[in-house]
Subunit: 214 residues, 2 copies
DNA sequence: GCCTCAACGGACGATCTCGTCCGCTTGCCA
DNA sequence: TGGCAAGCGGACGAGATCGTCCGTTGAGGC
C-alpha cells in the first residue's frame, strides 16, 4: 500500500469519527470525505460501504469490548470481572460519541461469518455468570441475556442523551446493584434469551445492517 | 369540518401508525399517504410537518403517559403509584411500535409553550418521589431525574429490540427492584439532574425536533 | 532522474424525498 | 335540487445523497 494511500485511510477514519460524533452515523459520505480533505472517490475506494467505514472507525472500540470479556473471565473475583466488563463497555459508549449508534446498528443482524467466535463469547459469558453466582455475589436468577439487555438499554440511553455522562453512570450503578445478590427480592420475569449476535463483545463482532430507527 | 375530511384524517393517523411501526418514523410521507389511500397534498393539508403527524399519531399514547403521573400521585400507596407509572409508560413503549422513537424524538428539545405544565409535572414527580421515600419503600438517594433516566433507557431498549417484550419486562423489573429501599447498598453516583423537558409525562408534552441518531 | 501505474479528485447521472401548485370533485346548505 | 367552497389528488421543480466514471497526478522502483 502506497504511503499516501495509508495516510488518506487514517485521515478518513479520523474524519469519520469526528463527523459521526457530530452528525450521527447517517451523515453524508461526502461530508466525511471533505473533512478528511480527500475526494469522495477515495473514500469509496477505501470503504465501499458506509458499514465498512463505521466498522473501521470504531474498530478500536470494538476490540476493547472484545478484550473486556476475556479480562472479565481472567479476573480473580468473577463479580469484579463482571463489574469491570459492564463498566468498560459502558464507559466506551459514553465517551466515544458515534459509538453507541454504531453499537446499536451492529446489533440486530450480523453476518454468520463470525458465528464461531460469537459462540465462544456466548460460552465465556455463561461461564462468567455461573462463577459469579457460585461466588454468591451475583443473584441466582440472573441470566446471561440480562447482560445484553443492560448493555443495549445503556446504549440507547447514551445515544439519546450523549451529553449526560451522569445519567449513564447512574443507570450503570442501579443496574449493577440490582444484579447483586440480595436477600429477599421478588421473582423476576422470564429472561429474554437474547444472544450476543452482533454485540461486539467478541473482537470481530461488528454489524452489517443499516436499520432505520424503529 | 367536512365528513370526508374527518374520515381522511382518521385514515391518515391509522396509516401513520402502521407505517411508522413498520419503517420507523423517518418513513417517507408519501408512503403514509399511499397507505391511507389519499394524495400527498391531503396529508400535508392535515399535518403540515412530520412532527405534527407523529404527534397526532401517538396523541393517545402521550395522553396515557400524561394521565399516568396524575394517577400515580392519586394512588393510596406512593410506591405502588410509582411502580404503576413506570410500568404503564414502559408497557406503552413496548406495545406500540413507533412510539419509542417518537418518545425519544420528542425528548431532547421541546417548545417552551408547554413550560408551565411541564413544570407542574416536574413538581408532581418530586412530590411523588418524596412521598414514596417517606413511606420507606423508595431508596432515600433516589432522585426524580432517575425516573427520566430509566424511561429513556427503556425506550432505547425497545427501540433497538422491538420484538422482545421479555427484555423490556426484565429491565423494568431490575430497575424497579433497584429503586426499592434496601438495607445496605453502595452509594450511587450523583444524579443526572435531567428534567422532564419534552417527556410526555404531561398530557401536552410532545416533541419538536427531528434529531438524527447520534 | 525517469517512467509507470496506483491512487486521486470531482463532475455527473440516477434516485429519492420534500412540499407546493392548480385544476377537478363532491359534501353540504339553502 | 343547485351552487359553491371545502377538500382532493397527482404532477412537478427543488434539493440532497449516492456511487461511478474517467482524466490527471505524483510516489516509488529502477
Amino acid at each position: 500500500m502506497r504511503a499516501d494511500a495509508r495516510r488518506n485511510r487514517e485521515r478518513l477514519l479520523a474524519a469519520a469519527r469526528a463527523v459521526f460524533a457530530e452528525h450521527g452515523i447517517d451523515a453524508p459520505m461526502a461530508t466525511v470525505a471533505r473533512r478528511a480533505g480527500v475526494g469522495v472517490a477515495t473514500l469509496y475506494r477505501h470503504f465501499p460501504t458506509r458499514e465498512a467505514l463505521v466498522r473501521g472507525a470504531f474498530a478500536r472500540q470494538m476490540e476493547t469490548c472484545g478484550r473486556a470479556l476475556g479480562d472479565a473471565l481472567a479476573a480473580d473475583d468473577p463479580w469484579t470481572g463482571l463489574t469491570h466488563l459492564v463498566e468498560t463497555v459502558c464507559a466506551l459508549q459514553r465517551e466515544e460519541r458515534g459509538f453507541p449508534a454504531a453499537f446499536l446498528d451492529a446489533f440486530p443482524e450480523t453476518r454468520e461469518e463470525h458465528a464461531r467466535s460469537r459462540e465462544q463469547a456466548e460460552r465465556d459469558l455463561t461461564v462468567l455468570v455461573r462463577r459469579a453466582q457460585a461466588s454468591g455475589a451475583l443473584r441466582p436468577d440472573f441470566h446471561p441475556s440480562d447482560l445484553v439487555v443492560a448493555l443495549v438499554a445503556h446504549c440507547g440511553l447514551v445515544a439519546a442523551l450523549p451529553d449526560d455522562p451522569r445519567a449513564s453512570r447512574r443507570l450503570v450503578a442501579y443496574l449493577l446493584q440490582s444484579f447483586r445478590a440480595a436477600p429477599p427480592t421478588a421473582p423476576l420475569p422470564p429472561p429474554s434469551g437474547l444472544t450476543l449476535r452482533g454485540l461486539p463483545l467478541t473482537p470481530e463482532g461488528g454489524g452489517s445492517r443499516t436499520p432505520r430507527r424503529s
